[in-house]
Amino acid sequence: MNLQKKTITRYRQFFPGETLRETSSRTGIQITRIFRLFGGKTMKVTEMEAFEKVVSDRIAESPNFSRLNEVLEEASALLTNEELGNLTAYVKRKLVAKSYSRMYIRQTFNDAIIA
């Protein structure tokens, strides 16, 4: 997956089921441009930064996220491979349970238009 696709996928994880109009107003990018970007048109650096900023602002709303990152870095240095595996499995289970209760995240261009 290239960086642009990753950025859009990550954005959609944070804002699932959002319409093009909502994405446009959140990022400040014109709706027709969002339409093209979701269709695979190459992003400009400023547009990528706009998506990244929205995501990082959302992350900043939960201060525990940076704590989690710090702890994970420490864990990767101190814990054994088996312990890291257990931690990963634990977090993964939380994510799977959460994903069942969330709306389906629309990944494709056509679905985004319908939304």
């Binding site: 499995a89 634990y90 069942y100």
Partner: protein, 159 residues
């Protein structure tokens, strides 16, 4: 994810060897409609379930590798922890006791005998009511005992 989440397991337990509709599975499991539907789709994608579009059933040709993944020790431990965590964090009518008890050898023997009686009682109760009580109304019961020193060592060693 390896193994099954406890949500997925509930759906499989509802099905057992039967063929059920979505409404029947949802009614028996007590899962929210969306959640139930999403789990069914996920299990179909993993080839654990099959469907004719209306009714769902367990796949008959699950590979030994898949069976091990579903029923293996790692999967069971992870599921148990998930359920225990849910009980501990339950904000409703929670029954949960956790204590460090001083027991002499005699009392320890009595306690283990009582646990054995408790287990027999639970097995009988389950046999008696399993056909009439739907899965969603069943109780999650767990117990365990360990010695503080060996548990602490285990925690330090990370096993």
């Amino acid at each position: 994810m390896k193994g099954l989440s406890s949500l997925e397991r509930i759906v499989l337990e509802c099905l057992g060897k039967n063929t059920l509709t979505y409404e029947e599975i949802q009614g028996q499991s007590g899962l929210h409609e969306n959640v139930c539907f999403n789990i069914l789709q996920a299990l179909i994608i993993r080839s654990i379930l099959t469907t004719d579009g209306v009714r769902y059933r367990m796949s008959e040709n699950l590979s030994p590798l898949m069976l091990e993944e579903i029923n293996g020790m790692d999967a069971k431990i992870a599921e148990s922890l998930e359920m225990i965590e849910a009980v501990v964090e339950n904000k409703g009518q929670r029954v949960f006791r956790f204590q460090k008890i001083a027991m002499d050898t005699r009392d320890e023997k009595i306690f283990l005998a009582m646990l054995s009686n408790l287990e027999s009682f639970l097995i009988d109760a389950h046999k008696k009511a399993q056909s009439s009580v739907p899965l969603k109304e069943r109780k999650v019961v767990f117990w365990g005992v360990g010695e503080v020193q060996s548990l602490m060592n285990q925690i330090v060693m990370g096993n």
